[in-house]
């Protein structure tokens, strides 16, 4: 009896010891995600601020994030460039870093916020076998970037509710009192029921709540910063899975629609096929909707590029999936879609021959064409960067507000030809090999 008890205790201690070792190793690896990779702003950076300057309770929390300010010293407007709203969308993050490391302002100011939801960089998507990093080759070796999650780390905010109702925020009533025309057909922010997990998705909770959850406070701080800094044009970088209809688009608030459509025309000359969608008034909490409804001076847009790594139909997670945008599962889905549509067309033809009207002729599974070579991250970054340059140009052409001058941003063709890493610093902060730097 005593021997059995002793054996059981020894066995339990061994198993507990092994569990502690596994927990320690896993914990070390998870904790490594909490360390920010260094970013190397261009020499034209004038100031770095923390977002908590606009909402003090964020100070010292993992949600507080850097604002990199490029002030030309010349009068003009302010452009806000954001990445990392959803850190599982790598080209969105990388495009903001690309801008940060190359930008020079000639008129007005730029505020670059590459890690909008810093709390979502601290972990990966749960149960998605998602890789925690991706690597971009530079002239000085490979540089590591974190591949985070769509939502804030649950360690910072939990438990999730069953249903999340996004906040109304403190700005709408004030705006409507001053500009009653904005409320025509516009229900205003909040009061939308969403899945519980969206309680940690910052892009469903703008304009935020100063006394809400930590993610709602982050949203509130960003909107407060936009209002205090009187941002004229805002660009929020994203990516979407190929089966998501909002892809290769500029989603624009109605106040930004003129700038976005003009930019779309300019981009057609660059060989960048993109379309403009108007931000839906009944889809609340998103940057392109709420930033415009919380501050009358801003023209906010959101950009989407296709990313196979975040799709539901993806194959095994690999580094190529993130960087090269290559996934044979999607190529196969594309073949299935083609065969399906051939059959549907044949059936429609037969029905029409019998004088009947077919119900459907085509069916879409994917909303982008995925070549067998993939959609490389350089292409996705180049799309975002070139669209930003053209949006600023369109904003100036249309005299939408005080002029904004940006410089040293390589052209789309140059980024495709040389790769985005050519214009980024090396892993130890070595200067980029890019042409923009050589001119200095």
């Amino acid at each position: 009896m005593m021997k059995a008890l002793k054996d059981r205790t020894i066995r339990a201690s061994i198993f507990l010891g092994l569990a502690l070792i596994v927990a320690a190793v896993a914990g070390y690896r998870f904790r490594a995600q909490w360390v920010d990779e260094p970013l190397y702003p261009s020499p034209h950076l004038t100031e770095v601020r923390m977002l908590s300057e606009y909402h003090a309770p964020l100070e010292g929390t993992p949600m507080d994030t850097e604002l990199y300010i490029f002030d030309s010293g010349e009068p003009g407007g302010t452009v806000l460039i954001c990445g990392g709203n959803h850190p599982n969308e790598p080209a969105g993050y990388l495009a903001a870093v690309f801008i940060l490391e190359n930008l020079r302002m000639t008129e007005g100011r730029a505020i670059v916020m590459p890690r909008m939801n810093r709390g979502a960089f601290l972990h990966t998507e749960s149960q998605e076998a998602q890789l925690p990093n991706f690597f971009i080759p530079t002239a000085h070796g490979e540089r590591r970037f974190r591949h985070g999650s769509r939502v804030t780390n649950p360690v910072l905010q939990w438990p999730d509710p069953t249903v999340y109702v996004n906040p109304r925020g403190p700005f709408w009533d004030e705006i409507v009192a001053e500009h009653p025309e904005i409320a025509e057909g516009n229900p205003g922010p909040g009061r939308q029921t969403l899945a519980g997990v969206d309680s940690r998705n910052v892009n469903r909770m703008f304009p935020g709540d100063p006394r809400g959850t930590i993610t709602e406070q982050l949203a509130y701080a960003i909107v407060t910063m936009i209002r205090e800094e009187e941002v004229d044009l805002a660009v929020d970088y994203h990516e979407a899975s190929p089966e998501y209809p909002t892809n290769n688009v500029i989603v624009a608030h109605e106040r930004a629609a003129d700038v976005a459509t003009w930019a779309e025309l300019l981009l057609s000359g660059d060989g960048v096929a993109i379309s403009t969608d108007t931000s839906a008034m009944h889809l609340r909490g998103l940057t392109h909707r709420e930033w415009g409804d919380a501050y009358m001076g801003i023209r906010p847009v959101l950009l989407e590029a296709p990313n196979v790594a975040q799709g539901r139909l993806k194959g095994r997670s690999t580094p190529e999936q993130i960087v090269e945008g290559l996934d044979m599962a999607y190529v196969r889905v594309q073949m299935i879609q083609k065969r399906l549509n051939e059959r549907l067309a044949e059936r429609a033809r037969r029905l029409e021959e019998r004088g009947r009207i077919p119900r459907e002729r085509t069916r879409r599974i994917l909303y982008v064409n995925i070549p067998e070579t993939g959609i490389h991250i350089d292409v996705r970054v180049a799309r975002h960067v070139q669209t930003t340059a053209r949006l600023v140009e369109a904003y100036n052409d249309q005299m939408a507000g005080p002029p904004i001058g940006i410089a040293d941003i390589p052209h789309y063709d140059e980024i495709i030809e040389n790769g985005s890493g050519h214009y980024l610093h090396g892993p130890e902060g070595e200067p980029p090999a890019g042409a923009a730097r050589e001119e200095e």
């Binding site: 059981r8 066995r11 339990a12 198993f15 507990l16 569990a19 927990a23 360690v155 939990w158 438990p159």
Partner: protein, 48 residues
């Protein structure tokens, strides 16, 4: 407030799991208890 309440619940679950780890007689049940301890500890220490 609610976060601290949940941390207390997790701490209680960790205690119960380790208590059962030592109480279970079959090795496989003990292994199960040990495996359950891993995510609970990671949550308790605010890691994952």
């Amino acid at each position: 407030m609610i976060t601290w309440l949940y941390v207390l619940i997790v701490a209680w679950l960790v205690y119960l799991t380790i208590y059962n780890l030592y109480k279970e007689e079959k090795p496989m049940d003990q292994v199960t208890c040990a495996m359950v301890t891993i995510p609970l500890l990671l949550r308790l220490f605010g890691i994952k």
